[in-house]
Structure formats: structure tokens, C-alpha cells
Symmetry: C3
Amino acid sequence: MTPQDSLWLHHQINLFNAEYAAALDEKRYADWPDFFVPDGRYLVQARENFDRGLPLALMRLESQGMMRDRVHGVTQTIYHGPYYMRHVVSPACGLALEADGQTLRAQANYAVFRTKPGSVSEVFNVGRYIDTFVQTDVGWRLRERRCVYDSEMILNSLIYPI
Amino acid sequence: MTPQDSLWLHHQINLFNAEYAAALDEKRYADWPDFFVPDGRYLVQARENFDRGLPLALMRLESQGMMRDRVHGVTQTIYHGPYYMRHVVSPACGLALEADGQTLRAQANYAVFRTKPGSVSEVFNVGRYIDTFVQTDVGWRLRERRCVYDSEMILNSLIYPI
Amino acid sequence: MTPQDSLWLHHQINLFNAEYAAALDEKRYADWPDFFVPDGRYLVQARENFDRGLPLALMRLESQGMMRDRVHGVTQTIYHGPYYMRHVVSPACGLALEADGQTLRAQANYAVFRTKPGSVSEVFNVGRYIDTFVQTDVGWRLRERRCVYDSEMILNSLIYPI
């Protein structure tokens, strides 16, 4: 990768990750599937399983349709105690552009804080995004985002996407 | 916004936010008002109020003069238990440059950790900066920074600016 | 520093810091000394001591050889309860390039979260990196990284580098 590519791609992915976080944290869940391509995959997986190559994941959604279904479930049907999320995401690393220039791999560390009504903010989930982006007419979109989390004990349950 | 603008502005705002955090975390409070224009506004507001369009804010300072007054109060007159702050701020998002090229809107997620003497570090305040920057002779300065925090229960009280 | 330099250096250092964090968080400890030059220095120091100009540091390693020795100790000989680390690092600030263009000073705020098996993630150590980079054939490498931490009470003990 040329230094020029590295500069541009780093900027684009860091901005993407910040926009992605803002959509979730502001509860604009309907916008969330649009960060993916139509056949995009979203996984939330324990580090323990990821490191051993085991397939089990806490959440595995294999298309925008499944993501929209999840959003519907989260916002319309699942009974759960409400909470705010706040993502703090580091600049990305591990940028690798495939030869066709249309597929990009990247990683980024994240911390998600949860705040329940009337309570203090807590560390909710920390880990890394392991991503594959593809170039589209509207910029980079996720073909796959794998959220590999360190936090083996998920505080209560994980309702919203990470 | 052109890709070139996006690249430059993102760099400038990310650097600004890091310098702002460093000034507060290193207790260089006298430098803090200089991140604003003379008639700049600084607000610290609960997300609950912000989301409903309610005006109540925990802190509302409407000029550099009021900020200097606050700094004087914090450093000279308010009796409080000392603590360290540490800001971790994500890359910015939501960049929008007005037509004149002199006014820029942006957001960034932050987490502030507090450490009291002899104690462990805690999550103190998490939220987002909602900012309006204006171009000046010395670069971008804040016309308004609104710190909208998730943390409804502020650990003890909030003494220093966020 | 020209705006062009600022843009490039900020990109390079932010990427460096993210790669550094990824190596530690993924337990690729053998890679860690390579982020330094052969006679590089690594210190972990309490803010209280740093602010007063006192020399005492929790960890002080004065060459890659000492770092490799530490890595050997951590991975082969020290008996300790295992834990995961996760770094979230802000974009850098305080960039200052020396006249020869080969030495760069920078800072960055970090938060490190710790997760012990079967437990929730905790705030482990927060502070700032105070760095001196030098230009090498393979890009910027650390001549010195000083981790100045706010957290006076280190949860249990600090085993892995920060």
C-alpha cells in the first residue's frame, strides 16, 4: 500500500467507524443495516471462540434483511430494560487493500459504555472490530463486521448491535 | 464536501480534540477558554434534556469571560476532593462545512475517566461533543461546544470542564 | 510544522499507536520490542512521580534486549492470573518535529481495559503516552515511550506492557 493510500484509507475508515458508532449511540437503528452491503454479515463473537476458530457467535446476521429483522425485534418486540450506549473507537489498524483495490481489510478497538436510567455509566463491552469493506457507489460499506469481545460475562444481555 | 476537504477537516478536528483533552487532563485550565472564540458557548447537558429539546444544562457558559471565571472558581475557590481526569475521544464524525467555508459542525464521542487519590480509575462521564467551529487566524476555534452526557448520575459532582 | 507535515505525521502516529495496541491486545508480545529502536526506552510511571520530576517508575526498560527479557518473563516465568487487555487510544496531539526532520515528539491518551476469565471488563489503567519517535528505514519507531498513568492503585499488579 502506498503512503498516499494509507492516508486516504485510514481517514475513510476512521470516519466510517465514527459515523457507525453515532448511528447506534443515537438510536438511529434503522440506519444501521445501511453500513453494510445487501449480503453483508454481522457477527458478535467471544474472543475465546474466535481465537480457537470455533464458530459459535452470540449474534450472526447474514444479510441486511436479517439486520432489519433484528432492528425490528429490538425496537418493537423484545422486552428489555432500556439503556444508552456510547462507543469510543480507536483509529483503525491492519489496513490491507486487495489487488483489485475494491476490498479492504481493517481492524479497530472499541469500548462500549452502557448507562441505565438513573445510574452511573459502566464498561459494557470491549473488543475489536475485524472488518472487510467493499467499495460501492456511496463509499466503503461492510461486507463483514466481526465484533470480537473480551468481555466473557455480558452485563445482563446484549440487546442492541455493538 | 470534497474528499480533500473531508481529509483535512477530519485531521484538524481530531487534532483539536486531542489538544483540548490534553489541556484539561494536564490541569492547564487557564488554556481552556482559548479553545473557544471570545463569544463562544460551553454547555454540559444531560442527554435526556437534549433529546427532548429542553434547555436545562448542568453548566452553561456564554463567553470566554464566563469560562475564565469558572476556571478561577475551580482552581481558587470551590472546595472539592481532588481528582485526575483522562479523556479518550474518538475520531470526529458528522462533519458539515457551511457554504462560506468558515463554519464547521462536527461531533465526537468521549469517555472521561476519573481517578481520586489512592483509588482505582472509574468511568466518570461518557457522551458526545456537539460542536460548531469557526475559522480564525489561528485555526479552528469553538463557537459552541455542547457536551451531551449519557451518565445521568454524575459521580459526586462535576467540577472541571469536560 | 507545515499543515502538510501535520496531516502526514498525525496519520502515521495514529496508525502506529493502533498497531502497537493490537500487538499487545492480541498477545503478540514478541512483536512488541520491534516498535522501538534497539536502544529504545520504555517506562511506566505514576503521574504523581512524573509531575514532580521524580525518577521512580513501575517499569523501566532501557533497550530492546531488556524488553525481550521482560516478554520472556511475562510469557514463560511469572506466575499470574491470566487477563485480556484492550487498549483504546485517542488520536495523538503535541506533535513536534525536530529541525533534522528525524525526531518527532508526540502524546496520546489511552485507556486500557482488563478482562479476567469469566468476569466483566474493568478500567485497568488510564493515562498518556509521552513519546519520542525516530525515523528509520521501516518508518517511525520509538526511542522512548513513557506511559504516565493516573491510576494510583494498579488493580492487582501490572504484568503486561501497557
